[in-house]
Amino acid sequence: MTPSSEARQIQTPQDLLKVKERTALPAVAESHRAHVLVGMNTCGIASGARETMAALEKEISQRGLHTRIYQTGCVGACFEEPLVDVALPGQPRVTYRNLTADKVARVVEEHLVGGRVVADLALCQSPDGSAALPVLTRYDEIPYNAKQQRIVLANCGLIDPENIDHYIAADGYVALATAVTEMSPEEVIGVVVDSGLRGRGGAGFPTGIKWRFTRHAARHPKYVICNADEGDPGAFMDRSVLEGDPHAVLEGLALCGYAVGAEESYIYVRAEYPVAVARLEKAIDQARGYGLLGRNILGSGFNFEIKIKMGAGAFVCGEETALMASIEGKRGMPRPRPPFPAGSGLWGQPTNINNVETLANVPAIIRNGAPWYKSFGTKESTGTKVFCITGKVKNSGLIEVPMGISLREIIFDIGGGILNDRAFKAVQTGGPSGGVLPESLLGLPVDYQALAQAGSIMGSGGVVILDETTCMVDVARYFLTFTQTESCGKCPPCREGLQRLYAMLDRICKGQGEAQDLDRLEVLSRTITDSSLCGLGQTAPNPVLTVLRYFRDEIEAHVVDKRCPAGVCPELVSYFIDPERCTACGLCKKACPVDAIAGEKKVVHSVIQEKCIKCGACFDACPEKFSAVYRQ
Amino acid sequence: MTNSIAEIEGAKAILVTGSNTTEMHPVLSTYVKRAVRQRDAKLILVDPRRIALQRHATKWLRPKPGTDVAWINGLMHVILEEGLHDEAYIRERTEGFDTVREVVKAYTPTAVEQITGIPAHDLVAAARLFGQAERAAVLYAMGITQHTTGTDNVKSLANLTLLTGNVGVPNAGLNPLRGQNNVQGACDMGALPNVYSGYQQVADPAARERMAQGWQLDGLPDTPGRTLTEITEAALAGEIRALYIVGENPMLSDPDLTHLEKALRKLDLLVVQDIFHTETAQVAHVVLPGASFAEKDGTFTNTERRVQRVRQAVAPPGDARADWEIISELSTRMGYEMAYESPAQIMDEIAAVTPSYGGISYARIERHGLQWPCPSPDHPGTTFLHKGQFARGRGLFHAIEYQAPPEVPDKEYPLYLSTGRVLYHWHTGSMTRRSAGMVDRVSECEMEISAADAARFSIADGAPVRVRSRRGEIQAKAKITNRAVEGTIFIPFHFAESAVNVLTHGQRDPVAKIPGIKVCAVHVEAA
């Protein structure tokens, strides 16, 4: 889609309007004929969207239909992928869920050819003005969507991310055009400050204030960086935005450059995000082709270039000073701050760093104004936040909600509650360095202050839900396996301290804990938090500290009673067979990998404790109606 | 050096030529590397070999050996053409510019490419880097001077620095890097045929008078003496009959060794004073055991003219004595009493008869050395020379034309040979080849050759080779490396068993009498 001729350059805001006028989003442009949208983010592709797309193309061409097929981003309901929208003229779009290639022929035959919705495969219908189909729920009435508020993800799932015209048709680049032709950099900063937008990468520093620091730095050149090094396991907010709406990030970055006085910028993105990288590259080419990047943008005299720098996947490179070192070609290791990047950043020059989500908010803020943005969220934490909800929850996926929504609403209303209707035990927010919060805190409003006070963090937006089958000591140990291996190795508290913390938890899980260990854990955790060089070490003990705070009895059970209440820690669990309930069916005997079950057909079974490796295979194998195998 | 070592770090452009700085002056090279890596200085490296500094170079020019005047004139041509010269500086502080302007006119980038093989666009780019820099320093060493046109080469570099106003200002200058610990001091002290200490001319009656008075003598010889290479010739001719060599090993370091040995053997008396039984000591009539630097007090003057203390740490072995004691006693035995109690006392005498050292005493250099000129006890020393005005008043340009080296490859001797040192050894190796760590790294003579030449002459990596010139033949081990440029081989001169100076020619620069060791023609074959 890269425009080739000079004539296609966008030189004035009016040119932008012309593109918008000649382009319409699929939903509008194709309202006179049938069209199909396929979710082609990584989540969709992983679920088989490429095969679905190929099958659609084949079926449609074989039948000689004139249906247009578009790719689009992710609407968030990753658990329903591949998601395919099918629209007939004059009818609302129907969203099909889990539409793998094998089901495509049926949808094409029945819906596209026959004009009948395949109700058993459909999820919902679009909420637009067309006559609603009586058989289907409206998209916005699904509980998963009802409480969401889309600013950052507004275009995801609606536009083709590889087509700049689609972005422009959705009011894209209007904010940049307005800013560079009508606003001073100070005015742009003023709007961002007034909006109350805070960094979505974790620390929650007010974005506009940060921009002002860099603006006020006297030295040139200055740089702006988009931190797309999304490293939290299970977090894919940024990836979804980059894949579903890359131009929003470019526009936000350009606005940031204009505001702080930078002409050069980098997007530091993980090499493990190949789809995001490819779409960013394409987006940059397109924007440059239109003259929306490059020299003298819209005749304003503002020059701006974006380079992509791929990271090799070190968690610590999400830390801004490590990230800058990595861009400079050095090993990604943090350095002490101050000096902060605003004074001395990339190559020692004034630098502003924001994460993807933060920047993706900016065009909408400039377009709609600070008061509009502040109408979402709370007083101190304005706007929305994108979260990834994963773990033992029914609807796992990507959501965007107003700040201040409660954890309960996220987990139960949007997430649909706990998988298999088990009991909720804890929720962990903010990635591997976040804290675990108990049921009593489910009413907690999700904002920066409340989470911090509770001992956790907003982080970049990961939410992991844990159920009653989870051992909290094991969970703390699990997160430490991650943080201790991802420590860059620079400072002793993080490098050595986390290993010791891990070793202590490991001992406790193995029933070798000592009475003093609770104090030791507490002191070591606090000192690591206090004395580590960067955010990684300073937050890594959070899981341990919150387990000590909210699940102390569970650690005590491990240490004092040598018991794992959740029955997870193998060394602290023994399996038994209740002779009263055992029907000698032999299923557990068959499942046992080490022949640790005694008994014959029709002879009641028992566990040979000396041979048992506590894998739990017998427990899982015993049919629920008997429930003869139990653990203690 | 006109300027100081530490000033290099503040230069905006640095031109390094004829100096394998990281290996020959490793610590000094760190200033160059830091300037480039940490302060964004531009490094222009002019060297036929891909030496380690090349990795840091902004621009690397690779001339054919012996073509230095041509590329330097070429740089000046471009600088003038593009108006990058410092007109005010030339007007106010120099003379003779017009003749240089005339001469360099012919040295267009294309013409220079023909002579040197440096692509015209590279020469232009290098000239811009040098000319546009606010402060540019030139560093050079024996790769510039050890040519039959050595003086011309140095004068050409001087022209370049004058043209761009880079002498007499900080972080710039024309800076020869001295290869031996006290070459500077030996020159300063008048260990030269034409000058007393402090470069006072022996031909100048007033200077002669002053020195004679200082030394309480009735008179001093008035004709300049012979240079090292002239001494060889004179010995061969029977005009010089006795030679006293202190701490030198010409039997390995000098060109055309076969010729030299003949000369030394002709002497009636050869006295060699050294710490080891060197190749030269082996042909001596009398050998006197001296003390190493660790066994005596004194001073060395470094390449930036800084006079620094040498202190005794251990006793000399056996009956060995400090050289100053031996010389004093010899003098006394010849009827002129030298009754110095310590080197400090000698320094006081040096200060008394040497204006540039006038303010130097052991007390003042106890903690930090002083840079001459330091004419009086309250003078702080001189960081860079020619501030405000030149020693001679105005800086003098010299118009120099390029002359081809005397020996170039031909059918019989198809390769250039260049000589020098390696990181782990020093000069004739008498010290480094007796240090375990150095020998462990490099134990034998390796001839560096490009892969293309190796293929052409059927030479395998690591295999023994025979290298032959019009003067002799040696054996060495071949090392195929991308440091070597096609058409030129390199052999270090540390190794007596592969004494490369058997191959080099004794033709000298007409002014400085320096031998043109850096270029000769050789033939190479597998041994």
Partner: protein, 352 residues
């Protein structure tokens, strides 16, 4: 304009751009350090110099953080002392820090800090990584089991010498100092300047030749000027029992090298005590050299010089002075040549 701040209750005015550590030291307040060295850019890695800065959540590395107006700093609060102690305790248990057999015993930053903090017993069980020693060369011995990953060697190699051979490799508990492809020093691009050894605060990097030749407190340091190239580096000959057993330098020696040396200056000193040294005058008789006393040797030289001078004139004599000898010696040689021999036939190998 001065920056005003408070450190340990003391009001201090210091220059803009100074770090908290510099300001404190100038005010006579000692903050212990480990990974800091004045020759190196600050890294803030070891967390030993951490201080409490009012209004900041976490402790900060005083070596790296610049002063600011109205800053209130505590250098010895309980929080600070606890953090400092933990850092040292963790390091003590992280490797093979057995002082009894360590070449750095008595000159070890880790040992000194542990002593100052009053650490008597190990807080954690020792977990030495068990790396094999790097004995790949005769200059530098590397025992990474004694490495505390302070990164001084890495900065020495990259920021001071700009040789760019060393870096930190791997992550977390596997982090270690590596050369490219984790090769031994001998097989790497190392040029053996020894800057890493000089700046290593522990026994991880030591001079191989100095091993068992004298412990730090045995050595007498004699400052002198290097005998190799013309840079004139200032160095210290470390003497024990009348022998030079090691060469070091010191940042505080200042110009021209600020403590840096090269491989020759630092490691090529064996020749001083080499068995090949000339220890007695020799005179050639019937083709062979015979050991003689000084009297005989000098009489022979003086006599023959006088004889030749008388017979062939002074210009039949010549002297080659030395770029290796001291100024004083070269001065005496020219005086001797001109004043006593009566000729200007003196030169040296400046041209070679």
């Amino acid at each position: 304009m001065k920056v005003k701040l408070t450190i340990d209750g003391k009001e201090i005015a210091t220059s803009h751009g100074n770090t908290i550590l510099m300001a404190a030291r100038r005010a006579g307040i000692e903050i212990p350090t480990l990974c800091y060295h004045p020759r190196l850019p600050a890294s803030g890695a070891c967390r030993v110099c951490v201080v409490e800065i009012e209004g900041r959540a976490a402790l900060g590395a005083s070596c790296a953080i610049p002063v600011a107006d109205d800053m209130v700093v505590q250098t010895r609060s309980p929080r600070v002392l606890e953090a400092r102690k933990l850092a040292i305790e963790l390091l003590l248990a992280s490797g093979d820090h057995n002082c009894l057999t360590c070449q750095a015993n008595g000159a070890c930053g880790l040992q000194e800090r542990a002593y100052e903090l009053g650490i008597e017993t190990l807080a954690f069980a020792v977990q030495s990584p068990g790396y094999p020693k790097d004995n790949s060369n005769k200059m530098i011995e590397r025992d990474l089991n004694k490495c505390i990953l302070c990164g001084r060697c890495v900065r020495a190699c990259n920021d001071v010498q700009v040789n760019e051979v060393l870096h930190i490799g791997h992550r977390g508990g596997k982090a270690k100092i590596v050369t490219a492809f984790d090769r031994s020093y001998g097989d790497s691009q190392c040029v053996f300047c020894g800057e890493c050894v000089a700046l290593c605060p522990t026994g991880a990097l030591t001079e191989a030749g100095a091993k068992f030749q004298g412990r730090p407190w045995d050595l007498k340091k004699v400052r002198t000027t290097c005998a190799y190239c013309g840079t004139g580096c200032q160095l210290d000959l470390n003497v024990h029992k009348g022998r030079v057993v090691k060469v070091t330098s010191d940042y505080h020696h200042g110009v021209p090298n600020f403590g840096s040396l090269c491989t020759k200056g630092r490691f090529a000193y064996d020749f001083i005590h080499h068995a090949d040294r000339l220890t007695t005058p020799l005179i050639r008789e019937k083709g062979a050299l015979r050991e003689v006393g000084w009297d005989e040797a000098l009489e022979r030289v003086a006599g023959q010089f006088s004889e030749i001078k008388a017979k062939h004139g002074p210009h039949a004599l010549a002297v080659l002075a030395s770029a290796r000898c001291t100024n004083e010696e070269n001065y005496l040689l020219q005086k001797f040549t001109r004043g006593v021999l009566g000729t200007n036939n003196i030169d040296h190998c400046a041209r070679l």
